[in-house]
Each structure stands twice: as C-alpha cells, then as structure tokens.
Amino acid sequence: MIELLDLEKSFDNIKAVNRVTLNVSDGEVFGLLGTNGAGKSTLLRILSGVIKPDSGIVLVDNRPVYDNPDVKKDIFYISDDQFFLPNSTPEDMADYFEGIYENFDKERFFKFCDGFGLEKGRRINTFSKGMKKQVSILLGLCAGTKYILCDETFDGLDPVVRQGVKSLFAADMADRGLTPVIASHNLRELEDICDHVGLLHKGGVILSQDIADMKLQMQKVQCVFGSEEDEKKALEGLKVLIHEKRGRLHTITVRGDREEIETAFKRGNPVFYEVLALSLEEIFISETEVVGYDIKKFILD
C-alpha cells in the first residue's frame, strides 16, 4: 500500500505538490488525473524516490521510499520522457534491468516483444514514440516489481496496443498483485482501466475516490415536471449538484443512490423521468464544479 500524508514539494517559489494526502491500495489501478502542471509527475517522482518531498510522509508498504533501495526494488517507474541507454536495443535494456531487478523476466520480455512486433535487436532510438512507450511498459511489467508507476504512458498508444497492455496489467494484477499507478491528463485514457482516481489541480487533491463508488453515489436524471410545485416536491431533500433546464426538460445531477433518487422523483409525480448512466467525465465535472473548478477545459481535450 502506498500512503501519502500531507505531502508538500516546491520548486523555488512554485508549489508543485500542496498538502497531498492519498492512499493507493494494493491490487487496484490508481489513476492520477490532472492538468499539465498539476503535480502528477512530481508526485510520481516522489513515489519512485527520484525526488525528496519538502515535508509530509511517503510510505510504501510502511517504509519510506527516498534513498531506500529495499523499497525501490518493488517500484518500476516509467517517466513521461523515457530514457534508454545510448544506442541500446530492447535486448540490451533487458540485460541491463536483469542486473537491476532481481525478478526481471527476460524470457517473458522477449516473448512480449515478439507479441507486440518489437524487434529486440533493433536500436531503440530508431523506434517510433509509441514503440518506445511499449518497450518501457513491457520492461516495467517484466521487472516483476509490485508497483509500476506510469507517467502519461498510455497517451499516444494506439487502441489495439492499449488494449493489449491493459490485458497484461490485468493479468499481472491477478497473478502477482501488481499495483499500477497511472498518471494522465486525459480522463478518457483512464476510465476503463482505473479502479480509483485521484484528481490533482494546482498541486492539491480535489478528490480521491473509487470509480464504482462515484458512479453509485451520483445520478443524472432527465425529466419533465407538471408544475413548479411538483418540481419542488421531487427535489426536496435531494443534494442537487447540477440543474440545467431547456424548455420544460430538466437535466439534474444529484448525489445519492439510484433507489433513493427514484423514490424522490416519484414523489413529484413527473410527466416523464429517466435515470441516465453517468460517464466518469460527467462525474468529475460535477464534482469539481461543486468545489468551484472549471475543469472541463482541462480534462476533455
């Protein structure tokens, strides 16, 4: 389990991470979402022991990370700007990591390379950007570490590869309890893979929640009321997050479980009502607007 408590990190006068408290449970895929400059990469660098926080606590399985090889051998970090040894091939990199990580599985790596169509004897600097990302991910998966930290790693992968990688993640999670932490500025990249999402903005955490819980705890209802009196009756006692009205059609986002909300709306005797499925995007927009952030322009590119 990764625990962050009151974490702070500044670069000169810029606060990159501001009192962040998060928990990453074992065996779940943790999505770290945020705009450029929100502090995602800094947070991952702190988690991987590259940089030291100014204050706060970072514990990985109850042990501090920074300058601690015993902990770092359980972590594989794939940075946004991947580095490979000069003129190296995937095979060279596998050789290198074999000397670094005790459980590195070279055979598995070569098998994956074949599966993804990556020539293991070809120089990596001749690969495309997406292929380099694939090499990094495969190296990370074969390192046999408990945690894999991916910074914008999925951005730019084609859907087929992304699906393949997701399958490998799922398999490793099931087989050996891999816990991926994936940072991205694009919510759509994370929606179908993450179990838990933390949203960062300007160095701070806006929210951190299980996606399933989020979906269960928020409903979007489209309805038409007979009168204003009916509308009041229906919404009485509900925690309305967003309420839009076009003509007589109301679109209302409400916090609460589906059953509770349906009961409330029936009380208002609407002409028509329907509970719609909320996308992760909509949940985020709703949650962040509530706390005053206009997040749409950042996360929906």
Binding site: F11, R45, S48, G49, I51, K72, S79, Y96, I100
Partner: protein
C-alpha cells in the same frame, strides 16, 4: 548500478557491461593512450637508435639515450599528463552527465540504489576503466622497451613512481570535474566550472604574484610563482624541472637519479593528492545534498554561486589591473595608480554584471546580486589598499637573525662558466644551490641598508627622478629555519661601510658560492671530450690564443686567485686588465669568459706559461691619435634635471695627434675597456665626453675606450670642443 551483492565474476561481467555502455569514452581513451604510450615510444626508441648510428654513439651512450626515450614517454618527465587530464575530464562527464537530464535522473534514481552507491559505483567504474587502459598500455610500452633493450632497474622504478603519480593526477582531475558537475545544473556550466576549478588558483596566484612585482620595490624576479591546489600547475611546473634533471649524466643509471625526481616533485605531488582527496570529500558532501530537481539550473548551491561570482569578478579586476600596468609600463608614475584602481573597479563591476547574466541565464538579471557585487568591489579595494599601502610590510621585511639559517646573493656577478647539456645553462641556479652565507648578522645589516635604498630608488623612479644613484642591485635569498625561502631585491649604495661589504663579499662562503669554478665537475667532465682546448686572453693589446692541457688548469688557478684576491676593498680601485675565453664545442657546448685583474697572479702565471699574457700599459708612443667627442658643446649637463632630455645639438669631435696633447689626455683619463664590478665609476666625468684612443694593437676596431677623471679634463679639450 545494482543493489545485488555480487560475486567477483558477476562484478567482472558487470564491468564489461559498463565498458560496453560507455564505449565512446573507452574508444577515445584507449587509442589515444595507446598512440602515446606505445606508438610514440616505438618512434622515440627507433629515433634514438638511428641517431646513435648516425653519430656513432657508444653502446653505453645509446643505452642511456634509449632509457631517456622510455622515460620521456612513461617516466616522470613524460608529457602524457595532458592526455590523462583529458581522459579524466571525459570519464567524469560520461559518468555523471545524467545529473543534467531529467529523463536520465528519472531512469537512474528510480532504480533500487542509494545516492551513495550510485556515486561510488560511477567513480569506481571510471577509475577502474582508466586503470585497466593505463596499465594495459604501460605493460605494452614496457614490452616494446624490453624489445629495444631499453630496460633498467631505475627505469622500472621511475615508471612505477610515475604510475602512482598518474593515478593521483587522474583522480585529482576526475574528482574536480565531478565536483564541478555536482555543483552545476547544466553541461555548459559544468564545463565552465571545471575550467574555473582548474584555473582559478593559478590565475589568482599569478595575479597576486604580478601585484607583488608591481607594487613592491623589493620584489625579486628570482622568486618563482608558487601556486597551491592546482594539479595542472603542479604537473607543468615539475615537468620543466624534470626536463633539466633528465639530462644529468647518471640519469636512470642509478636509483639516486630517480630519487632526485622525487625530491623535486614531492610537494607538488602532495598538493595534487590533497586536491584529489579534498575534492573527493566535497563530491561526497555535494552528492548527498544535491537534489534531482536541480537539473537545468546553472549553479545549484546559492552560496557557492555567490562565491563563484565574487571570486571570478575579483580575478577579472586584478587581471585588468595588470593589463593597465603593462600598457603604461614605460611611462609609469605615482598618479597612474588612481587610473589603475578605477580600471580594476570598472572591470570588476562589469564582470559582476556579466557573471549575474550567465549564472541567471537571463540578460534582464544584470542588476541582480548587488550584495555580492558590493562584496567583490570591497575585497578588490582591500587587495589594492594592502598592496598600495604595503599593509603586509613586504618592502620593509628583514627576518630576525634567529630565524635565518643562511643567506644567498643571486646572480649579481658574471660567475664564469656556462655549460649547455641540452636543456639551458647547467649552472643556471648555481648561487642558489651553492651559496650558504652563515654570517647572518652582517648580511642582515647589509640587507637593511639595501632595502631602504631600493625603496627610495623605487620612489625616485615613480617620480621620474634618477633611479640608480651609484649603487649595486642584487637579488638576495634568506633560507629560514622553518624551511621557507624568502627572496628580495636590494640596492646597496656605494658609500656603504667597506668593512661591512668585505664581511660578505670577501668571505669564502660568498666566493665559492658565487663563482661556479668551485663546483665545476660537469664542465671538467665535458672537457675530457673537448678536442680544441684553445684558451684566449684579450687585453688592450689584442688577443692571443694557445692550446692548453685541459680546462682544469684554468679552474685551479682561478680558484686560488679568487680566494686570495677577490673582495670589495681589494678590487674597489682596480679595473680588469683583460679577459680570458675558453670553449667546449662538439656534442655539448660550454664556455668560460672571465675578467682578469692584475692581482690574479696564479692565472696570469698560467697565461704566461702558454705565452698568451700580452697586457702592458698603453703608452704615448703606442697611440696614433685620440678622438674626443663632446655631446653637449657649450652646455653643462648639471643644468638639466634628471630624466630631462638633452637638446638635440650637433656633437663636436676633435682628434688630437700631437704627443703632447695625447700625453695630457692620458694623464687625465683611465682606460675603461673592461668593466669592474666594484670599481668607483663616480670618479669619472663621462656624461658629456667620450674618449677614443686610436691604437693599432687594440683588440677590436683599432681603438680603446677611456673616460676622463672628474675635474681633470684638460683646458685645451674644453676649449676646443665647447665652442
């Protein structure tokens, strides 16, 4: 970079991996070092063999020349240290340039190692790779040397010692470069900072040395620049000295000849070792404190950034001061100190602005860091005040008698011999090596008088007055009991107590330490191969040459004469009667040229034995005519102030041929053909007149130079030439 506990085999395997990952540095280092230590050695050895064949050298001489050739490549006098410095610089950048790249930092620092392990492993890999390459080429070099028959025990000892020195030198340069990298955030800044570390002690040391010469009248030019904390300076300095030592007769033929090198290099090598150790410790401290996010900054530690700015700006200010002095040298006076100071301030201010722009990477930052600019200006002003006001008492320093072991007077006299064995004059530092005056009481008395006069002369010079008022200028050296050597320049006026003068200048210690005839074994040895052996005596009566038995005869005679007849009062009223000349030519060149007084009876006896002593007084009968030239007709030189130019008037020449005129002129003048060191030249009135005695037997151009005695210029000469 692994956390595993590895076996030796695994370590070797990892090392092979390391080398394969750092191929570019190894691929550059190995061929370069092989080219120098193997190919160049082959060339040197074959050159020595060819030379021996052409010039018919004996097997013994050839053997030593081959050893010299090997030593020149692999011994302590090798030139390869510049290559080693380059390799160290390159290895450091190869190993630690990851600190400047965020992607590489992410890659390496997320791996399961500690910072300490990472730095230690990088250093270990670089040093071990260097050692593998260096030892490989050394072994190959020795095999080549053995094939050419150029191996001896002393040579192997020399190579072993040099290997240790090279390792220390490599470590010093490598650690300094790594330290510079640890303190920088970008590669260009790391390169600049490495240059800063490499040069700053030499630059500041050289500048302060220059200021000592500039501001202090008693500063001796015999004092050498001494710089600490600079491995490059250490190497370059001792290499020059080694080049001289490698010409010694017994070089590499015995262990002593090798140990002489160690004596010369010990303190410099210790300095290099200290730099290596201190910089390694600082690397450890900096590595511990360095943060990954500092990549991209210029200098990562703010206080160090300030220090660099201040020191670099002061160095520029001092340098500009020296430049200004150089420009104004020939017209230097007291008032120019103000201009010098203003230029120094302006240069420091400008360099502070430029340093701030470079260190901030922002041209708009030129006005920032005012605090450091003020500190730099204050320190520069302090340096100026210390030198200008002599706050350290340099110009008045005379050590107390109890602190002085012995004293020495440097290069004040023509000491006789010059011998060129291939690297400058063998007798270059004769006085320093052989003169140990223990009569410190009288020496210090003389030194105090000389310091006072020197300061007054300096002041006179800066005020455009006459610099040298009938005095002798010397460089002196005190050997202090604590091992220090202190140099000064003094000027002893000619009215100094003769007894005090004789207590030093007539002493055995002075004479034997001043004239190199007393320790001329090298010259005597070379003379054994001298086929010519012509001794020439030249006097006012011309030159005569004879073949003599050997140089030893002259040396023995001169030694006796100098001990018996040299001294201040003994020569105060004498001028030499002639000079002797003797040369060694052939493979090596040596020369003896020495003025002979009539009191040098032993030498004169020798000259007479070979029938070449031809001195006799010039009499009226021998002279054809005398030409007098008056350079200032109708005027008195006393009318003109010191330094004031004389008017451009046509000199008046009158030639006298009558015996009577010639006789009267001879009575009023003295032959000054040969310079006498202690002679009282103030008795002459030679500012306005020149006296040329035309005589067929004269050694050159048929005339001799005379000078009128003060107040004795014949009336008819004044009358004839002043109108």
């Amino acid at each position: 970079m692994t956390s595993k506990n590895l076996s030796l085999t695994e370590k070797m395997k990892n090392h092979r991996k390391y080398i394969s990952r750092t191929l570019w540095t190894s691929f550059i280092a190995l061929p370069l070092m092989a080219a120098y230590y193997v190919l160049a050695l082959i060339m040197m050895l074959s050159r020595a063999s060819n030379y021996a064949r052409i010039y018919h050298q004996t097997p013994d001489v050839l053997f030593q020349e081959k050893l010299r050739a090997v030593s020149r490549i692999m011994g302590m006098d090798q030139l390869g240290w510049a290559l080693i410095a380059f390799v160290a610089f390159m290895f450091a950048f190869q190993g630690f340039s990851y600190m400047f790249s965020q992607s590489q930092l992410d890659f390496y620092m997320s791996q399961p190692t500690t910072r300490r392990q990472r730095v230690t492993k990088n250093i270990f890999n670089a040093v071990s790779t260097f050692l593998i390459i260096y030892l490989l080429v050394e072994v190959l070099g020795l095999i080549v040397a053995a094939c050419y028959g150029a191996i001896s025990g002393p040579l192997l000892l020399m190579v072993l010692l040099e290997t240790l020195r090279t390792i220390v030198f490599f470590l010093a340069i490598y650690n300094l470069t790594v330290l510079a990298m640890m303190l920088s955030g970008t590669i260009p800044m790391a390169v600049l900072l490495t240059m800063f570390f490499g040069c700053i002690s030499v630059v500041l040391g050289g500048e302060l040395f220059g200021y000592t010469r500039l501001f202090f009248d008693t500063c001796s030019y015999n004092e050498d620049l001494n710089v600490i904390a600079s491995p490059i300076f250490d190497r370059a300095t001792v290499m020059l000295r080694f080049t001289e030592l490698s010409q010694e007769k017994d070089f590499l033929l015995n262990t002593e000849s090798v140990m002489r090198f160690v004596d010369v290099s010990f303190w410099h090598d210790l300095d290099t070792l200290i730099v290596a150790v201190v910089s390694l410790v600082l690397v450890g401290v900096a590595a511990r404190a360095r943060k990954a996010e500092w990549a991209g900054k210029t200098i990562v530690y703010r206080p160090f950034r300030w220090l660099v700015k201040i020191v670099a700006s002061i160095a520029v200010g001092l340098g500009v001061g020296l430049l200004v002095r150089e420009i104004y040298t020939i017209v230097w006076n007291e008032k120019l100190y103000l201009i010098l100071f203003l230029c120094m301030i302006l240069a420091t201010l400008t360099s502070c602005v430029i340093a701030e722009i470079i260190l901030s990477g922002d041209i708009k930052a030129f006005a920032k860091g005012k605090g450091q600019t003020v500190i730099a200006l204050a320190l520069l002003s302090l340096v100026f005040v210390i030198f200008k006001g002599d706050l350290i008492g340099y110009d008045s320093y005379v050590p107390s008698e109890g602190r002085v072991e012995s004293c020495c007077i440097l290069s004040d006299y023509d000491n006789g011999l010059a011998l060129y064995l291939g690297q400058g004059d063998y007798f270059n530092n004769y006085q320093k090596n052989y003169m140990f005056i223990t009569n410190t009481e009288d020496f210090l008395k003389l030194a105090k008088i000389g310091m006072k006069e020197m300061n007054e002369a300096g002041t006179r010079y800066r005020n455009n007055e006459e610099y040298d008022k009938n005095a002798w200028e010397f460089s002196i050296m005190y050997r202090l009991k604590n091992g220090r050597e202190v140099y000064r320049r003094i000027m002893i006026p000619d009215d100094t107590d003769p007894a005090l003068m004789d207590s030093i200048f007539a002493s055995k210690e002075y004479i034997e330490g001043s004239f190199n005839f007393f320790n001329d074994e090298a010259f005597r040895n070379e003379d054994k191969y001298n086929k010519k052996r012509d001794l020439t005596f030249t006097s006012c009566n011309g030159a005569k040459t004879a073949k003599i038995g050997s140089y030893d005869e002259i040396s023995d005679a001169l030694r006796k004469d100098l001990l018996e007849n040299f001294g201040y009062t003994k020569l105060r009223d004498k001028l030499p009667v002639g000079e002797i000349d003797y040369s060694i030519s052939g493979d090596k060149y040596g020369n003896l040229n020495f003025r002979i007084y009539d009191s040098y009876t032993n030498t004169i006896e020798l000259l007479k034995k070979y029938d070449i002593y031809n001195y006799s007084e010039i009499t009226v009968d021998m002279i054809d005519s005398i030409k007098i030239v008056n350079y200032l007709p109708g005027m008195d030189p006393e009318e003109f102030a010191d330094g004031e130019e004389w008017p451009d008037v046509e000199p008046v020449e009158v030639t006298y041929e009558s015996k009577e005129d010639i006789e009267r002129i001879l009575e009023a003048s003295v032959m000054t053909e040969y310079y006498g060191k202690w002679y009282d030249y103030t008795k002459f009135d030679d500012t306005k007149y020149s006296v040329q005695v035309n005589y067929d037997g004269a050694p050159a151009e048929g005339w001799l130079s005379y000078s009128f005695l003060k107040g004795k210029i014949p009336e008819f000469v004044i009358r004839d030439t002043d109108n």
